[in-house]
Symmetry: C2
Subunit: 150 residues, 2 copies
DNA sequence: TATTATTTGAGAATGATTCTCATTCCTGAA
DNA sequence: TTCAGGAATGAGAATCATTCTCAAATAATA
C-alpha cells in the first residue's frame, strides 16, 4: 500500500511537470485523490476526502485548472450534480451508465469493433452537418440489479 | 403563419389534456415557445421569449412539471448551461453535436442501421454489468464551419 | 356563477461556483 | 542554500441559477 501511494505521488508530480504547472501541495492533493479513486467523484466527495487540507475555493480553482489542460472529464448526474474523473489517456476511452433509480454511475467500454463502427458513422457527420467531430460521449440510462430487486 | 400558430395552440392544449394537467396560460405559453423553436433553448431564452408574461419561478416550476411527465429533455452545454427541448415522440430519437468553439448546438440523427447496431451492443451491457438499459444519449463535440473559417 | 382546489407571481432563501485580495508558497537565479 | 518576484492559495464576500414560501389569482366543475 505504501508502494502504491508513492507511485501515485510520482504520477501526480509527473502530470504537473508534463503540463508545466508548478507542483504545489493543493494540486498534488487533488491529483492524489483523483488517482486513488478511479471512479468519478462529486465535488463534495473531493472536499471530504481532502479532510480540511484544502480550501473549497482552491479546489474549484484547481479543478478548472486541470479541466483546461484536458486532464479531467466533467459530467452531470441525473440530478445535475457535477462529477469529475481523470481524463482518458489517449486510445483509451470509456462511457457511463447511470441507474435512474439510485443514481449510481458505472464506467463501461464498448467493444472496439462497435466503437470503430460508431466512429466511422460519426465521420460521415462531417459532410452532412459540416462539422468536424473531435470526440463523442455515450451515456446509458438504466436500472441496476439492486434497484431491480427492490 | 396564423394557421401555424393556431395549430400550435391546439397541440399545446392537447399535450396538457393528454397528461391530465390543467390548461393554464403559463403552461400554454411555455409549450408554445418550445413548439415554435424546435431546437433546444436555454432557460434564459425561454424567459426572453415570454416577454414578461411569465414569472421566472413559474417557468422553472412548469419546466420541472413537464420534465416529470417526460415531455421535455434537458441537457447541459459545454459551459454547463441547462438546455431544454420537447422530448422525442416515440420511435423518433435524436442526438446533439456541440461546437466546442462557439458553443452552438445542433440536432442530428444517426442512420437507423447504426442506431440498431448500437442498441444491439447496448443490450449486451445488461449481461456484462447487470444493468437493464432503458435509454441512451450520444453527444458529439466538434468544430463548426464558421469557427473553422476563422 | 359560485365553490374549491390548484396554480401563479414576487421575492426571499438556498446552494453551488466564482471572485477578491491579503498572505503564503514555488521556483530559478545568485 | 538563500532570496526575490511571480504565481497560487485560503477565507469569505459576491454572484448566479434554482427552489421555496405564501398570499392572490385562476381553472375545473357543478
Ligand atoms: Mn468514468
Ligand atoms: Mn435536440
Ligand atoms: Zn440502482
Ligand atoms: Zn462554432
Amino acid at each position: 500500500m505504501q508502494k502504491n501511494k508513492k507511485r501515485q505521488i510520482k504520477k501526480s508530480r509527473q502530470i504537473l511537470l508534463d503540463n508545466n504547472i508548478p507542483i504545489t501541495k493543493p494540486r498534488m492533493l487533488v491529483l492524489g485523490i483523483l488517482l486513488k479513486n478511479e471512479g468519478p467523484l462529486k465535488v463534495e466527495d473531493i472536499i471530504k476526502l481532502s479532510r480540511g487540507k484544502l480550501a473549497v475555493s482552491s479546489m474549484y480553482r484547481i479543478i478548472n485548472n486541470l479541466k483546461n489542460l484536458n486532464l479531467i472529464n466533467e459530467f452531470q448526474t441525473l440530478e445535475n450534480t457535477k462529477m469529475i474523473e481523470l481524463a482518458d489517456v489517449k486510445d483509451e476511452h470509456h462511457h457511463h451508465i447511470f441507474c435512474e433509480s439510485c443514481g449510481a454511475v458505472y464506467d463501461f467500454e464498448v467493444d472496439s469493433h462497435i466503437e470503430k463502427e460508431l466512429e466511422k458513422e460519426i465521420i460521415k457527420i462531417k459532410s452532412k452537418y459540416d462539422i468536424i467531430v473531435k470526440s463523442h460521449s455515450l451515456e446509458l440510462l438504466g436500472l441496476c440489479k439492486t434497484c431491480r430487486d427492490k
